[in-house]
Symmetry: D2
Subunit: 345 residues, 4 copies
């Protein structure tokens, strides 16, 4: 069989290069094109020398798009840019997996409230499918526009969905305390990501107004049918890759550690990329891989349920999950090209 032809729009940022890393070695696809407006005409390995000898990919401009007939296009663009692409090209000619936040929320209003900018392709919001396979695999199979989940939401939703779905916790009590490595902030150097600023440092940011808050609430609500409100606080870890999310919620049923463990094992036993642990996870145990590791514990004393989950933000939190979605939509085995064993140490 011929390989599927895919394209990557925005191939030189962190999610873009992670897509290349995965797809170059993927047995069922070929990268037909990869764009970069800044570096069009250069070899990818001239921009990112770690790719030397691994791919001959030459970056092109989005202006050359008409030359290609891809089966699927990954959009690794900043939010606001993806919607322009979708508006222009529609979803008839090829499948789109968008890694930005543009098609994750329910409505243009919600988008505008949290992103502080108008949504110019709201007609496609309805059609878009949230690309979290563990929740929406059946819909992803037939999707034409997949909104690849945010990194924080992936770690939080996978940890909370089983509890909420089965009615174990109060949907108004949820606190999400997340800690992310710096690649989550993108490849562009900023004063706040200057090495001496972050080395040996740690801080919270975007308190009470981070854009992943409505994404988490919206998806949990859609999935469970229960109105859900979360307080989400991100923190910046002085490492390159990895997210750890700790959640706190109040049980509304009689509960025990055994019950919760059974619940999570049942929810994820058939999943390729969710590992339910019997001890607290570490971000390095998923580095470079597509795994999400989850641990839960019930505190009898304070009557709270704690979950701790970890992902590699560039893998299960971005490019890895995007490839997982691609595999699903192409009818491939879901783990194809995603069997990287975590790089630890």
């Amino acid at each position: 069989m011929d390989k599927f032809k895919i394209g990557i729009v925005g191939a030189t940022g962190y999610t873009g290069t992670e897509l290349v890393r995965l797809l170059v070695n993927h047995p069922e696809v070929t990268i037909q094109f990869a764009t970069s407006e800044t570096h069009a005409g250069k070899k990818l390995s001239d921009v990112h020398p770690h790719f030397l000898d691994t791919t001959d990919l030459v970056l092109c401009s989005l202006n050359d798009f008409s030359e290609f007939e891809p089966d699927l296009v990954f959009l690794a663009l900043p939010h606001g840019e993806s919607m322009k692409f979708v508006e222009k090209h529609g979803t008839d000619s090829f499948i789109i997996i968008d890694l930005s936040g543009d098609f994750r929320l329910s409505s243009a209003e919600q988008y505008e409230t949290w992103y502080q900018t108008p949504h110019t392709a709201s007609a496609f919001l309805e059609e878009s499918v949230y690309g979290l396979p563990e929740l929406y695999r059946h819909r992803i199979r037939n999707a034409r526009l997949i909104a690849n989940p945010g990194c924080y939401p992936t770690s939080a939703i996978l940890a909370l969905a089983p509890l909420l779905k089965q009615g174990y916790i109060d949907p108004g009590s949820i606190i999400i305390d997340s800690k992310s490595g710096v690649t989550g902030a993108g490849a562009k150097a900023r004063p706040g990501t200057h090495f001496p600023v972050l080395f040996g440092n740690f801080s919270a940011y975007s308190l009470v107004n981070h854009r992943h808050t409505p994404e988490i609430e919206t998806i949990l609500e859609k999935h469970t049918g229960i109105a859900t409100e979360v307080l989400f606080t991100p923190h910046l870890l002085p490492i390159d890759r990895g997210i750890l999310t700790t959640t706190y919620s109040k049980p509304v049923k009689e509960i025990s550690n055994e019950v919760i463990e059974d619940l999570f094992h049942a929810a994820y036993e058939k999943e390729n990329f969710v590992r339910v642990l019997d001890k607290p996870p570490s971000v390095k145990n998923v580095r470079g891989s597509n795994y999400c590791d989850i641990f839960t514990v019930y505190d009898r004393r304070t009557h709270q349920i704690i979950t701790v989950s970890v992902i590699d933000n560039l893998m299960k939190g971005a490019a890895g999950q995007a490839v997982q979605n691609m595999n699903i939509v192409f009818g491939l085995i879901e783990s194809t090209g995603l069997k990287q064993i975590p790089l630890n140490p």
Copy 2:
């Protein structure tokens, strides 16, 4: 006036060397002796070469203790060891500032529950004063036995006490999510603190059963008179120094950001070492100093109060606070010897 004579028992661990760093340059005290059973007879600078040329201190054994007549002794010992010293020497001949957990809790029973070992000097529990100057300065002045606070509790109590004391929050709703640098685990190499294990890593540990839980609850209860229950979750940051603590609690009164800010400014405006900020703090902004930086925000949407506080765990979380306590008990200006400006970058 003659300088005060002080001794340090256990001078080669991290809190011990941090005490030496502060006291060598303290204008009102002289270090009469510093003990180490492992290294007795050696110069401190032979064990820790960064002290070369800064002090001639020669380590001695606790067996030589009778040679000295100190005004005050710092115990920088593991828990369990401090109580033996106190039991043997009592508190009549000199003041004791204990940096272990042995005299922080209310009762031998509570100690034995959380520390899993009997308390053999429980007669002194009553007499001991919890050495958090911002709450107990008046009692510290006349204390003979000061239980220097734990690092996590310092960061959490300073952030929660004003809210609880003034009745702003539900004392049963408190969640404390803390993140600490690795020096908090002590100077002894362990498999879990091997550099390649922690580099680029992050994890939660001691879920629901960390010993600082009852310390935080006990002190908040004593201070406010209100029964308080907290869920405390520590995490291990891949840095050397620094704690950041995020707390979540439910208001029980009408509240606003202005009200909370005023509350914290009022609580700490006369304090030398608590800085109330108008933006989220960073651990590097207090590195090497005795400051605790605190930021608060109220989330109208989820009706939660968030506090974020940072300290250097070896300073305000251990040795710096111990010197602050010493200054108080000696009647010195409280900031004497503690004016180190944070080392940033």
Copy 3:
């Protein structure tokens, strides 16, 4: 065709787990057994949770060795242990790739001088082949005992061999200044690898007496036929993986940057895993991969040649190179199972 059956002796250290990471996904081999005396009977994923769901491997004791009939055995043992295994089992029944230093030097005398311990299997020194494919591929093909190179020597020899072999540099002038990540020191926690000791730190160690000195000299001499003396200074980088080696040597012929570049391109153009760069390399550009990146420059002013080379010490410096050797000795395509693209960022 049936897969080759391989065994790993010492599977829980850093080179052992890296071998597992590579071999689990290797299409032409099956791991028949993996030993650990400490953890025999446990699943590898219980000892190293990042392997969960990626392999069902159960660790066994070396005492169970007689149950197996492997085609090839990797020895990921400390020096001194490998020679015992080789002495006991010989090289008739299966091929051995030894990752320790036991079979890299020329003679028992040289070994005893630098390793300070007698060599008890010196009869095998003659037979052993130094497993640096770029120099000894033809001999590796028929080897029964392969001495897998040390991490520092790999980075130094690949950078110096072309210059020496073609007679461009004075073989008595060579200075090698190397910097290695901490995994090079092994998986065992030691006082010197305690996280707070190394975090933010950097130092030189083993000045003038590191065991890789005679290895570098011996191999360069054997390869070039020229008596060679090097001054080798290792330093400890506060990172987990990666070696960067800077060498300095005096040209003995008229030379230019163009001449050197041509020399290196010619030497390595057919190599899968050596990339000759036109700018200085970074260790992160080879992280998790089997590449060695090399850059050279001639300083007209001081008349010195500088080379800078980088490898991942656990890959091209240990397990990756071992798998490359295995591929050669099995007659497989040399890059089989070694196409991991560097994990950057």
Copy 4:
């Protein structure tokens, strides 16, 4: 006695804030003004919150300079900017300590060759004194314009000067392999200092053409009277503070470790800030302090002398040394305000 009045021009970069850290607690000086063109009118603690409560300093513009009558001005400016200030203000009204490279070299020609820009205040080159107290204390005492040494040169010159001065080494054989933390690159965020780029990374840069090369040669020549040529290679360490410099040189006399040790002890025994060690130094052993730690060893086998020296690049490599120079020129005890004990861990 009245305190000396000093000013800092360029107070918000890394050397500027380090000067403030030292001078706020200096007992003999008062900071009369501190400039920042970007942040004029703001409190320093608004720009750098770690200064909160430690100083009320309000930044002003250089345009306000005429309001002040300082005794001494520190120029913490980029090269090229300092010469403009010196040209405009001369050295009659106040002493100048320039932390840029503008007045370190011998001639305008040399400057233009290495800095690629004309020198517009070359009339002052003659008058300027190189501010390395260990070599030039007697001249610094009466200087009006002090060229504060570069960070790399400080670490290299202190390690090489005793050997060269006493004729122990071949002045044409010197190799300097240096490794610096990232604060050496300044406070401005650049693509190459983006946290994810440098985290876990290490590389060499500016091979054969770094500007500190002629500075090292010039000063060694002036000091020893011997024409000296060095090959200097800098590398970028993934830490915030600290330089380690390894040098290699060929002895030209009979030599032994004892002879070299005696030489260094003799050279530095009266120095406050140079510590001659009997084992290899670590950068963390000088963090936050003004010390330079030096270790030497002679390799009998290859007949080379190795030195390893460490400094905190912002202290002995910049601001600490500048304050040391200020103390000398003011006739104060040289260590005044510089007794910070290294912050380790």
